[in-house]
Structures are given as structure tokens and as C-alpha cells.
């Protein structure tokens, strides 16, 4: 499937995973640090994925200084 990463925006191809949890594990990401977005829906870790999906992994960490 096509996976869109951000900061900066780029695309990678990931195959052979069937759930969001597997995808995160494969890329060494924790669910707490990203949103998984397909089209206009947010996916939970148990959501099923197929090879022709396009999925965005959007980091949630931002900011810098505490004001």
C-alpha cells in the first residue's frame, strides 16, 4: 500500500501488512505518536488494511518551547 509520511511530506510503499497495528510495528512507530488516516476516516489499531489502500501517517508531535 501507499503510505504518506509527513514532516516533510513524502511517500513510501509498504506491503504485506494487514492491520494498522502491524503497519505501525513495521515502521517502528507507536500509536500514541501518530494518527492513521485513510481518506477522511481515522483508523484504530485493529482496522484492516489492504495492499491498494492509501494511508497517511500523520505525526501528532509538534511545537517546541513552552510558553
Amino acid at each position: 500500500m501507499k503510505v504518506i509520511l509527513r514532516q516533510p511530506r513524502r511517500e513510501i510503499q509498504v506491503d504485506g501488512v494487514t492491520t494498522v497495528a502491524q503497519l505501525l510495528k513495521k515502521l517502528d512507530l507507536v500509536a500514541e505518536s501518530v494518527l492513521v488516516i485513510r481518506g477522511d476516516e481515522l483508523l484504530t489499531t485493529d482496522a484492516r488494511l489492504s495492499d491498494d489502500d492509501v494511508v497517511e501517517l500523520r505525526p501528532v508531535i509538534s511545537g517546541g518551547a513552552t510558553v
Binding site: I37, L42, L43, T44, R58, P59, G64
Partner: protein, 309 residues
């Protein structure tokens, strides 16, 4: 996964609450957390004049949305920091949000009003960009709030911002900061506006999800000056711990406020005086902002001369 409330299809899991929610019930959940925080910490009342620091990122825009929905009238102030490839976009997101909802947004241009941008200040002062930026934002937002006659300055700091800051302050044993880090900083007679953080019970992932689920467009790309920022690294570490023990971040932060902070507060009593340059409260003679501005303006002037001006 199913929504804890309606058993419909869940779109987000909140493991520390042992729950998952559908879109509508998640929105309701977040709004309720914020309402509860405002109430429990006695942040403000509906009759007070509120101004929100708006950055164009997920947190400030999500908070603006929540507060408006809860019935508060909140104005926004956006600081144009002069960071290429970042400031213009984040201003666009902020403007668009305000226009769509008929909210007031004041834009303060740092370069125009104070004579320097954040990249210039970072270079001239040899502070890290985020340190120069943080201290400038603190100073300017307070000034804007005071000038505008606002009662309360509202900030979009979330649970992760606060937990990571606490973590950093513990690692360095910054006892002064440990005494002062709070969800509500009271107003002071010498010119500090009350400052509140209504998102402290909402994790960063939840404010991002809230923004997406409410159709709020925000700046997803990171500020180019944030690279290597320690707070962001702490957030990632804390998330890896949270992944193994859901609830850890909230426990760390709220446990500190409930049981840990008092000892630091007792030990720390700082005498505030007024800055001899601008009159703002400070612990030294000239406040940190005026010092930053002075070194930056000298440097900016020197470079202009060198360039043949």
C-alpha cells in the same frame, strides 16, 4: 473497536481511559474534559474577556473550536514570528479558521513591531531558536493581553506539552520552573495577565484527532527551527512509555500537581521587580525580552551596515 457510548464503529481509542469513541462521542468527550478542567482549576467564567494565543497548529485551533462550542466568546492573537516557509502558512490556517467562524483574530508582526524576527534573535543571542521564540511569545502575548484589556490569556498547551516540559525540568532539576509550572498562573499587580491551559487533560494525539474529526485544517508540517528540539524528543520517549503503560503521562503530570509540586513552591520565593527598560515584571534589572531585543537589534544593524547600508 466499538464506541464506549453508542457501540457504533470507533474512530479513536483512548487507552488511558480504557475507551474508544465514534466521531460524535469523541468530540463530546474532549469538550467535556476541557469543561471539567476549566471548572476544576477555576480558570475563568463566561463573563471574563478571553484572548487565545493562536499558532495555526492543531492545539490552538482545536481549543478555539471547543471553547466556542462551549459558549465562550474568545478572541485570537497570532504572532508572526518571521520564520520562512512556516509563518505564512500557519497564518493562512489561522485566518481561514477565524473567518469561517466569524471570530476576531489580531495579527502581531514581530519584525514590524519589535524590529526583529525569531531567526534573527536566535542567531544574535546564541540561544536555541525555540528558547528565543518561547521567551518572545511569553512576553508579547502578555503585552497584547494587557493592552487589549483582557482578563485571561488562554494557551493551547496539551497534556503532552506539559508532561514533556515537566520531564525536562526534572531531568535538569530546574527547581524554579518546577515551582511555577501550573495549569493556571494567576494575574499579578505588576502586569502579568492570568494565564490558563484548558487542554492539560487532553493528550496531543487527541487534539490532533479532534482537529481532523471537526474538519479543521491546520499546519501539519513542523516549524523548520524545531529540528532537534529536546521537548519533542522527550514527547517521543514518553509516548513509548505510554504505549507500554497507558495513563503514565497523565499520572506523571497530575501526580506532580497534586502531590509533588508543593515542596518546590515552598522552597522557591522569587522577588519580582520591574524591568528598567519596559516596566514588565522580571527577576533581574532588565527583562529577558528587552535583553534579547537589544542584542538582536545591534546585530541586525551591524549586518545591514556590512551589507553596504
Amino acid at each position: 473497536m466499538k464506541c464506549r457510548v453508542c457501540r457504533g464503529k470507533a474512530v479513536i481509542e483512548v487507552r488511558r481511559h480504557n475507551a474508544a469513541f465514534c466521531r460524535d462521542h469523541f468530540v463530546e468527550h474532549v469538550q467535556r474534559q476541557v469543561a471539567r478542567t476549566i471548572h476544576d482549576f477555576r480558570m475563568f467564567s463566561p463573563t471574563e474577556r478571553l484572548v487565545l494565543g493562536v499558532s495555526g497548529g492543531k492545539d490552538s485551533l482545536a481549543l478555539w473550536d471547543v471553547l466556542t462550542d462551549l459558549g465562550y466568546r474568545v478572541d485570537g492573537v497570532y504572532l508572526d514570528l518571521g520564520i520562512d516557509g512556516y509563518s505564512p502558512d500557519s497564518l493562512t490556517y489561522s485566518r481561514r479558521f477565524a473567518e469561517k467562524r466569524g471570530l476576531d483574530l489580531e495579527v502581531v508582526d514581530l519584525k514590524h513591531r519589535y524590529g526583529f524576527s525569531i531567526p534573527e534573535a536566535a542567531k544574535a543571542s546564541r540561544r536555541t531558536p525555540c528558547s528565543a521564540c518561547g521567551l518572545s511569545k511569553r512576553y508579547i502575548l502578555n503585552q497584547v493581553a494587557e493592552e487589549g484589556g483582557y482578563d485571561v490569556l488562554v494557551m493551547g498547551h496539551n497534556l503532552d506539552d506539559e508532561a514533556a516540559t515537566l520531564f525536562g525540568n526534572v531531568l535538569q532539576w530546574n527547581v524554579g520552573y518546577l515551582a511555577r509550572q501550573r495549569p493556571v498562573l494567576p494575574a499579578s499587580d505588576d502586569g502579568l495577565c492570568r494565564k490558563v491551559k484548558p487542554l492539560v487533560r487532553v493528550a496531543e494525539r487527541e487534539t490532533a484527532a479532534y482537529a481532523v474529526l471537526r474538519g479543521i485544517e491546520y499546519e501539519v508540517e513542523e516549524c523548520p527551527m524545531a529540528a532537534g528540539n529536546t521537548i519533542n524528543r522527550y514527547k517521543e520517549w514518553l509516548n513509548r512509555l505510554e504505549d507500554r503503560s497507558p495513563g503514565l503521562k497523565a499520572q506523571f503530570l497530575f501526580g506532580f500537581w497534586e502531590r509533588g509540586q508543593q515542596g518546590f513552591t515552598d522552597a522557591e520565593s522569587v522577588e519580582l521587580t520591574t524591568c528598567t527598560t519596559c516596566g514588565a515584571p522580571t527577576t533581574g534589572e532588565v527583562c529577558a525580552f528587552c535583553r534579547l531585543q537589544a542584542v538582536t537589534l545591534v546585530e541586525v544593524g551591524r549586518r545591514r551596515e556590512a551589507a553596504g547600508g
